[in-house]
């Protein structure tokens, strides 16, 4: 009897272990799938061309495979988003932590979380149908598809990512430091920015890294509002295409398997993955390293 019990216990444990391995297999799967077809891609296209060609036209007669135009679209929209999200998100986090009453925080924080829950296709619609026309009244030279509008909307969407994690980081700073600062006669602003923020800096940095990663990987907002023509530019008023939009664009068409066009999906995906992979691991490492600080 005892051994039967023991056996079934072990069986259950093994089953669960196998389930856990699914996550490992997923990562391996992603890396394999992206790598294999990227390698096939790079058998036809030189790495140098990939990085330096100024045009990305794999679906046209005259084929160019320069990732820079897609990358510039991705970086342009991400930069705009971060320029909005970081100062705004961080200021709100400091305000909630140091200035606001508990009641104010308990109302505002959940409302801001709603920003993160809205499906991105909704934001895309908003960017195209409201923000762009509104901006065009102020900036007449703004194109119908542009980088500015989705960039701003993405920035707003990302605010809770920064606010939430930064506020957690600030809250983790021991109250004794805050008391020491006030005890010396510092006011709220000085205590917040000369003591609390420096003490929470690793958590704040992690929040920014994760926000950047989120912006890089965003698809629908830019697919709807930024445009579907790759252009190597840093002018936010023009239409651009991001890596993510391209992947979706190609998938919507009929692309024969094992063609160069098909493989561009993987080369583009690999580029995106490398960026976000580095950022995510960086943030994980920073979090682990500084976690023990206030034991």
């Amino acid at each position: 009897m005892a051994s039967k019990k023991f056996k079934s216990e072990k069986l259950i444990e093994w089953t669960m272990l196998l389930c856990s391995m699914v996550s490992v297999l997923t990562t391996i799967g992603i890396i394999l799938v992206l790598s294999i077809d990227s390698i096939k891609f790079f058998e036809e296209v030189s790495f140098v061309d990939f990085l330096t060609d100024k045009q990305w036209t794999p679906l046209f007669e005259d084929k160019h495979f320069g990732i820079m135009s897609l990358l510039s679209g991705t970086l342009l929209t991400t930069t705009i988003a971060i320029i909005v999200a970081v100062p705004v998100g961080l200021s709100i986090a400091v305000f909630l932590n140091e200035y606001a009453s508990k009641r104010f925080t308990s109302i505002v924080k959940p409302l801001l979380e709603v920003l993160a829950a809205v499906p991105t296709v909704v934001y895309g619609f908003f960017a195209l149908q409201f923000v762009t026309p509104m901006l065009q009244k102020v900036i007449p030279s703004l194109a119908g598809f542009n980088a500015l509008s989705p960039g701003l909307v993405m920035g707003i969407m990302i605010i809770p990512y920064i606010t939430s994690l930064s506020e957690d980081a600030l809250r983790a700073v021991p109250n004794s430091l805050r008391e020491a600062s006030y005890g010396l006669g510092a006011n709220r602003f000085q205590t917040a920015f000369k003591v609390m923020v420096p003490a929470a800096n690793s958590g704040i940095v992690v929040s920014i890294i994760l926000a950047v990663s989120r912006a890089l990987g965003e698809t629908m907002i830019v697919a709807i509002a930024a445009g579907q023509q790759p252009k190597l530019t840093f002018n936010p008023l023009e239409s651009v295409e991001t890596i993510t939009t391209y992947i979706v664009q190609v998938s919507m068409g009929d692309v024969p398997q094992d063609s160069m066009e098909y493989r561009t999906i993987f080369a583009a995906g690999m580029t995106l993955f490398v960026f976000t992979f580095i950022l995510n691991n960086l943030s994980f490492w920073i979090r682990k390293k500084y976690q023990q600080r206030y034991e």
Binding site: L177, Y182, G183, L184, G185, A186, Q190, K194
Partner: protein, 264 residues
Amino acid sequence: MVQENSNIILESFGTYKLRAKDLNLFYGQKQALKNISINIEANTVTAFIGPSGCGKSTFLRCFNRMNDLIEGVTIKGEVMIDDVDVYKNMVDVYEYRKKIGMVFQKPNPFPKSIYENVAFGLRINGESNKSVLDEAVEGSLRKSALWEEVKDNLHKSALALSGGQQQRLCIARAIAVKPSVLLMDEPASALDPISTAKIEELIYDLKDLFTIVIVTHNMQQAARVSDKTAFFYMGELIEFDNTDKIFTNPAKDATQNYITGRFG
């Protein structure tokens, strides 16, 4: 230097440095301090003693309005420093706190260098002149008997110091802005006996420059360092008198019971 001298001149007139009159404090509905009245002279060391939860730390924190940081606290009565009412007449509480130094139970140096910790108070006052800062940092560290130990490592992190050293650093940090009052909330209770002895010596030396109030659990410590002692119990001030009287011949029974260890 000038400020130190003028403080001493004021104090020699014998005005009470710190005063409280019929002070009542409430955490929401719960009353924590009942009708406290006390007069503390300048350049003395006063010890607040009493069992846990009797309100001595809470009362201490009234003098520099640190209780403002807790939500739901209400105060009735008067708390005065240099005859100015701290709650009613004090417009800028941040400026006011610069005149009072506080040292906490658990050392709480900022995660910055030793130098930056001591210089913090001066910097937030707008001082950025390096030689002024250098002089102030050295002076404070000397007064807290820490200079010899850290003078070659001023830019190392304060968190690398031992507990006793950190506490002396916190004292240096507090006195760097030249307050006239030093409030100490059980400054040695988290330290080993040797560090404790060093801190007690320090208090004795600092008496000439500051008015010191120290909250302590340790009655022998109170007996060693203070001129006067106040005994608190359940939010009330039971007895306040010269230290040797309190410990040899107290007037109230409750005091007698506490110091002989019958409770607390």
